[in-house]
């Protein structure tokens, strides 16, 4: 594994988006992962539609009653991959633009599919495996506890205590080997995470969180997706 790795430098990451006042983080995490996978498959970076997921994806967990993807009220990335697989794919952002509101109608147009899911899977709770899957398969959809993100401005976040109760969907796009940590007097490796709260939040829309201890549950729910070649 390389010591440092960043999919942004390789052109696999679209500009930071903004979910607005809508609990649709899960859809941004999903599109981000598929945008990266589609880039690996086709060599082209295409921004995909979160609004299609918000409006059209109501995939449910068969094991848990009422646990369904539900627009601004929340969802799960794996369910969204399942929806995308069943629906046939996702449209371009420009063909189905984001409004950040729940609507009753789904405007999915099958003739305008821009990216398809071939398969998806979850990655084991092992940081080397997470890094290997990131390097091999592209950006990963991950869940995190976002309590420290409400006040985060920059730097490598490495709280002494952080709940592992997952409540936010984000995109893992890379890692670094040495984020400077003056207080603890040592260099700290970190994950680079793309968020969906606009470029004015965090480090131009990105979050750095330290590696090594499943901080804020960042290693707990990691999903990788492969894109299918469009026919």
């Amino acid at each position: 594994l390389p010591e440092d790795f960043d999919w942004r430098e390789k052109g696999a990451v679209t500009p930071v988006k903004n979910q607005g006042s809508c609990g649709s983080c899960w859809s941004f995490s999903t599109t981000g992962a598929l945008e990266g996978a589609n880039f690996l498959e086709t060599g082209k970076l295409v921004s995909l539609s979160e609004q299609q997921l918000v409006d059209c994806d109501h995939e449910c967990d068969p094991e848990e009653e009422g646990a369904c993807d539900s627009g601004c009220n929340g969802g799960l990335m794996n369910s969204a991959f399942e929806y995308t697989l069943k629906a046939g794919g996702l449209m371009r952002e420009e063909d189905y633009p984001y409004t950040g509101t729940d609507r009753d109608t789904c405007k999915f147009d099958k003739t305008k599919i821009a990216a398809k899911v071939a398969n998806f899977s979850v990655v084991s709770l092992d940081e080397d495996q997470i890094a290997a899957n990131l390097v091999k398969n592209g950006p990963l959809a991950v869940a995190i506890n976002a309590v420290f993100m409400q006040t985060y401005i920059g730097g490598v976040s490495c709280p002494y205590i952080c709940s592992k109760r997952l409540d936010h969907g984000v995109l893992l796009v890379g890692y670094g080997s040495a984020g400077y940590a003056p207080i603890r007097m040592k260099e700290k490796p970190y994950w680079i995470i793309k968020n969906s709260w606009g470029e004015n939040w965090g480090e131009n829309g990105f979050y750095k969180i330290c590696r090594g201890r499943n901080i804020c549950g960042v290693d707990s729910m990691v999903s990788t997706v492969a894109a299918a070649v469009r026919s």
């Binding site: 979850v122 084991s124 290997a132 730097g155 976040s157 205590i161 997952l166 984020g179």
Partner: protein, 108 residues
Amino acid sequence: DTFSDDQLIKQVTDGSDELLGAEHHFTLFKRKFGKSYASQEEHDYRFSVFKRNLRRAARHQKLDPTATHGVTQFSDLTPAEFRRTFLGLRKLRLPKDANQAPILPTSD
């Protein structure tokens, strides 16, 4: 060598330093993030939330010293409002039937 930090730096406030200039910070916050409130009551309430969040940011800074914490676009929201409005992970566990990614070689 005989001087400690306490002797070098004289405390001139009452200790609640994270709230020093809170009103000014709130004015800057409103301007930076284009915030406006419908009524004076709402404004006053949001200011009280903002002050609580300044204290919270200071706590986060102590707990998370390698990052910088402070005023963000969410500083006028309570933690519950923040969760309700901007977080949306619906389930806490993965489906049992989820495919497991194959183990990849990581040495060399």
